[in-house]
């Protein structure tokens, strides 16, 4: 019990600290790849600190929903992170929910963020909310099918169980169903974290922004909470992807030694995935909004193929 509590604290701290670093890293690498110097890796921490200290302006049209959302978003992202086996195969709060609860918690955060986009009565916010909800709706079946593929193979929706089952002797790097499901999940990851073929995190051009449009009216510490929450969500989704499909270094028991080893492995896996995201972002152009469903239905079909191939090869 004591150990569990320390894992809980460690993972909470890790999520809080690692998340801004990961977004900083992606920004920095992206700039490097485009022959720019780019912001420092630590820049998101300074941004958060600055936002936290700043005065806040709330829209005169907004209601209490607008003030509740930053907390909901931050807390749901953090709680979702605690359902995930991050460093070792033990998820601190795995008993409280598996992958379905994780997806549900992130959806709850998104629900409130989209409401807050509509709240200040600005057309930009409404546009962002509309697009965000619709893209996530189209992405959802692909994500669920990809998750089902691994969950059915493991016979469980509990994430620790999925990780442990995929570590078994049957695990192969190029298992066709896993490779297909991974590709589908990677596309969904790009959509869910607002990355380039779907959304451009760096833009503030009215007609192209999706996620940023919803945040337009936020300032001060609310903005800090939202930015932080979104960074945590990104970390959670990326860690979910690498830990489910590449369960290397996730020890079944948590001791200081396995924790350190797991941390190293996690860092390595996240760096590789971040590199992949940066490559995709730099080498692709943003898609028109109505081309995005094509991309996501491709992900859906990949996930369906993954499932069918489980059926064929088992």
């Amino acid at each position: 019990m004591n150990l569990d509590f320390s894992i809980l604290l460690a993972q909470t701290a890790l999520l809080l600290v690692l998340a801004p670093l990961l977004s900083g890293l992606i920004k920095n690498w992206k700039a490097k790849l485009q022959n720019r110097r780019g912001p420092r890796v630590w820049q998101p921490y300074f941004d958060l600190l600055k936002f936290l200290r700043k005065d806040m302006v709330l829209s005169e049209h907004s209601s209490w929903i607008f003030s509740v959302t930053p907390y909901v978003l931050f807390l749901t992202a953090l709680a979702a992170g605690l359902l995930l086996p991050l460093v070792t195969a033990q998820a601190p709060l795995g008993l409280f929910g598996g992958v379905l609860a994780l997806v549900g918690l992130l959806a709850l955060g998104r629900f409130f963020l989209a409401l807050s986009g509509l709240d200040p009565a600005s057309a930009f916010g409404g546009m962002g909310s509309s697009r965000e909800m619709i893209i996530s709706a189209v992405a959802e079946p692909a994500m669920m099918l990809a998750i089902f593929t691994v969950a059915i193979a493991a016979g469980s929706t509990n994430l620790s169980q999925i990780v442990l089952a995929s570590q078994g002797p049957g695990w192969k790097f190029f298992d066709p169903s896993r490779a297909l499901a991974f590709t589908a999940m990677f596309i969904v990851l790009l959509a869910e974290t607002g990355r380039i073929p779907v959304d451009n995190p760096a833009t503030h051009l009215e007609l192209t922004m999706i996620h940023e449009a919803m945040l337009l009216e936020y300032s001060g510490r609310y903005l800090a909470l939202i930015e932080w929450g979104v960074a945590i969500k990104q970390l959670v989704l990326m860690a979910l992807l690498v830990n489910i499909f590449f369960p290397i270094g996730l020890a079944p028991e948590t001791t200081p030694a396995t924790f350190a080893l797991g941390l190293l492995c996690l860092a390595a896996k996240l760096l590789v995935l971040a590199g992949a995201v940066v490559l995709v972002e730099t080498s692709n152009a943003k898609l028109r909004l109505f081309r995005v469903p094509d991309l996501l239905s491709a992900a859906f079909i990949l996930a369906m193929l993954a499932l069918v191939s489980t059926f064929l090869f088992s």
Partner: protein, 693 residues
């Protein structure tokens, strides 16, 4: 405390049959009383809705006692009236399945009746509130009777009474032409479904030779496969019309919105559940040993209804029609659980069948709660703004703060978001479908994850739809003067909503407690009790029977959130101590002021979905511009956009035209000459004689 215990003892020592009888009498009294003092509206409304509240409470207690008694409790039987004709007996029986649905009707009945005590005021001096109360009680009586009827006569009698009272309530505001049209459509569809049911029951009667439900138990074994399948199809059509399975649903989004809002809540939350009750009763109790294709058909029908229901809901900007389409979606989700359970019964997995039943039944209770809540909220909004059009609402969260809170709770619940009840039952449905994959080696097993993916799509689209419904209705600036002058609902109306909101929260946080009540039901229908295996850690965590197959605790998630809350609060204390907060205008690209016209509309919000699913919706739009010198500087623009359901256009309209044409032909027979009629009678007699020989 001892007082309370004494009361609890008295309450539990009353037999459920007495309570049920009291409830039925109470509804009857409420109906008669409402008619009797129709001239004094206030008295009539208070009496009839008060009687409905008390009767529903009594029914609630009866259902709870029956289900709380565990699996072994004998089902009490009650003779309502002395039998006039030997085989025509008015008997009711409260077995586990009936008790569960009695629980649903009574829970919803309590909340809506309380709400109606306040809501009836809006009819004073305009329409007769006493008449409304009388029909309302009669509808509750008929629905309760449908759920507890113990023989075919009683069931069909209650079914018809329900259809007729519902028709009277749908066309309550019959001055409006759209209401009259909706009423007629409802009437026609109700009678098609009653016809299918009569035929189906005749087939069953042929095999059993007796009208009582007890003799119909497992009667399918005595029927030939062809007749069993025919009976299944007839019941699927009949009950499918009632619960709004796509494509039999066309009456539902037309009829539900035009009724008074308390009746809409009753119809959407409850009336369509009679279809679910009937299907469950027939498929699990009467026909027995289902072939594979029954389950697959129901699973497929559920999946299609869920996806299409939510897609059409997204296209609506009439708040009540939007909610009506969501009923179709949720019926689909319930059917997914039931269809999967039927498949498992076929493949011989009673444990999983019980899980599917629990998922379906839990969603039935949940849908009644949140859909009732949402319709009551919509009623309060309608009452305050006098419009159902969302494009004329907005800013209501500030003007009706409590209604907004309740509506938001309902929206989160129906979008299947944790920690509320919709999430729990969809979690159970997902688990049922996932477990289904391993039950068979045939290609059919791909249907389970496929349905699961469609359930995910449905959930995400429902969330999008309720961001729209709540955001456009309650947030931002008022879009019309009426919305700007809106006022909070009265205390009775708020109390009614509070009851259902509390039910949503409790059903969400303590699912294991309620699943225990389903034990007698799964014992009756699949022969297994599952609740002890589903609850971990003293019922605080919901887990699957298979070892470590997955668990969820909504309560745990909420507590996690509460424990993490100090983090953002501490951040504020440490860093933002000196920061000030002020109100300012919303950024409008430097223009002077933001007008409500600049806000995103409901139609605009769902435009991307309309574009993505263009092939399904086939939207028609008509833009007329008037301009002086260039089309880019229009002086006047008229925009019209219209979506017609593909089923109405492709299926029902040709059908209607064919029927009308056919009846015009047949009309030639009706010459009006008595000689011709005599000839017809003679020919008919001859034919019958030939047939008899």
């Amino acid at each position: 405390m001892s007082d309370l215990e004494a009361w609890a003892h008295i309450a539990t020592s009353v037999p459920p049959a007495t309570l049920l009888g009291a409830a039925l009498c109470g509804y009857g009294l409420g109906a008669v009383g409402g008619l009797f003092c129709m001239r004094q509206e206030k008295l009539a409304a208070a009496f009839s809705f008060g009687a409905a509240t008390l009767s529903a409470l009594s029914g609630l207690l009866a259902g709870l006692l029956m289900l709380g008694g565990g699996a072994g409790t004998p089902a009490p039987q009650l003779e309502l009236l002395p039998a006039l004709i030997p085989s025509l007996r008015f008997t009711v029986r409260l077995d586990a399945l009936s008790a569960l649905f009695l629980l649903v009707v009574s829970l919803l009945g309590v909340a809506i009746s309380i709400y109606s005590l306040g809501y009836a005021k809006s009819f004073f001096g305009r329409k007769n509130a006493g008449l409304l109360g009388a029909f309302y009680n009669a509808l509750l009586l008929a629905t309760t009777l449908t759920f507890v009827a113990d023989n075919i006569w009683m069931f069909l009698f209650a079914w018809e009474l329900m259809a007729l009272t519902a028709y009277c309530l749908v066309s309550f505001e019959h001055e409006k032409p759209e209401t009259r049209q909706a009423g007629v459509l409802f009437f026609i569809m109700s009678h098609i479904d009653a016809g299918c049911l009569i035929l189906g029951f005749l087939l069953l009667f042929q095999a059993s030779g007796d009208y009582s439900f007890a003799s119909l138990h497992g009667v399918g074994a005595a029927m030939s496969p062809g007749k069993r399948d025919a009976a299944f199809v007839l019941f699927l059509l009949g009950f499918g019309i009632k619960c709004g399975i796509v494509p039999l649903h066309i009456w539902l989004p037309v009829a539900h919105p035009v009724a008074p809002s308390n009746v809409s809540a009753l119809m959407s939350g409850l009336l369509i559940k009679t279809g679910i009750y009937g299907l469950t009763r027939v498929c699990f109790d009467f026909l027995g040993a289902p072939p594979l294709w029954w389950g697959v058909t129901i699973l497929a029908a559920g999946t299609i209804s869920a996806v299409l229901g939510v897609l059409y809901a997204l296209m609506e900007h009439d708040l009540k029609r939007l909610l009506a389409y969501h009923s179709i979606e949720n019926i689909g989700i319930i059917l997914m659980g039931l269809g999967a359970a039927l498949i498992f019964l076929h493949t011989g997995h009673p444990l999983l069948a019980a899980l599917g039943l629990i998922a379906g039944m839990y969603h039935t209770i949940n849908h009644a709660c949140f859909k009732g809540l949402l319709f009551l909220g919509a009623g309060a909004v309608l009452h305050a703004t006098h419009t159902r059009n969302m494009e004329e609402m907005g800013g209501l969260a500030k003007r009706m703060p409590q209604t907004a809170c309740y509506f938001l709770l309902g929206a989160v619940a129906i979008s299947a978001l944790p920690p509320l009840n919709g999430f729990v039952s969809e979690w159970l449905t997902y688990q049922t479908l996932l477990q289904g994959f391993g039950t068979t080696d045939s290609l059919w097993r791909l249907a389970f994850p496929w349905s699961g993916a469609m359930l995910a799509l449905t959930g995400a689209l429902a969330a999008a739809c309720f961001v729209k419904a709540f955001g456009i209705t309650f947030l931002a600036q008022p879009r019309s003067p009426a919305a700007g002058a809106a006022h909070e609902a009265g205390p009775w109306m708020r109390a009614g909503m509070a009851v259902l909101a509390a039910a949503c929260v409790l059903l969400g946080l303590f699912p294991a407690l309620f699943i225990r009540l389903l034990d007698p039901l799964t014992q009756q229908l699949s022969g297994v009790q599952l609740s002890s295996q589903l609850s971990l850690n003293h019922g605080l965590v919901l887990g699957l029977p298979a070892e470590k197959a997955g668990s969820v605790s909504t309560l745990g998630l909420v507590l996690t959130g509460v424990c993490l809350l100090p983090i953002p609060l501490a951040l504020r204390l440490v860093f933002a101590r000196k920061a000030r907060t002020r109100r300012g205008p919303t950024w409008a690209c430097g223009q002077a002021g933001l007008t409500p016209q600049m806000e995103y509309t409901a139609t605009g919000f769902s435009k991307p979905i309309r574009m993505i699913f263009k092939a399904l919706f086939r939207p028609r739009r008509d833009v007329q511009r008037e301009y002086d010198f260039s089309p880019y500087f229009a002086t006047n623009i008229r925009f019209e956009s219209h979506i017609e359901e593909v089923f109405v256009e492709r299926l029902y309209r040709p059908l209607r035209i064919t029927i009308l044409r056919g009846s015009r032909r047949i009309r030639a027979l009706q010459a009006g000459s008595i000689h011709a009629y005599l000839l017809y009678i003679f020919v008919a007699l001859l034919l019958l004689l030939v047939f008899a020989l």
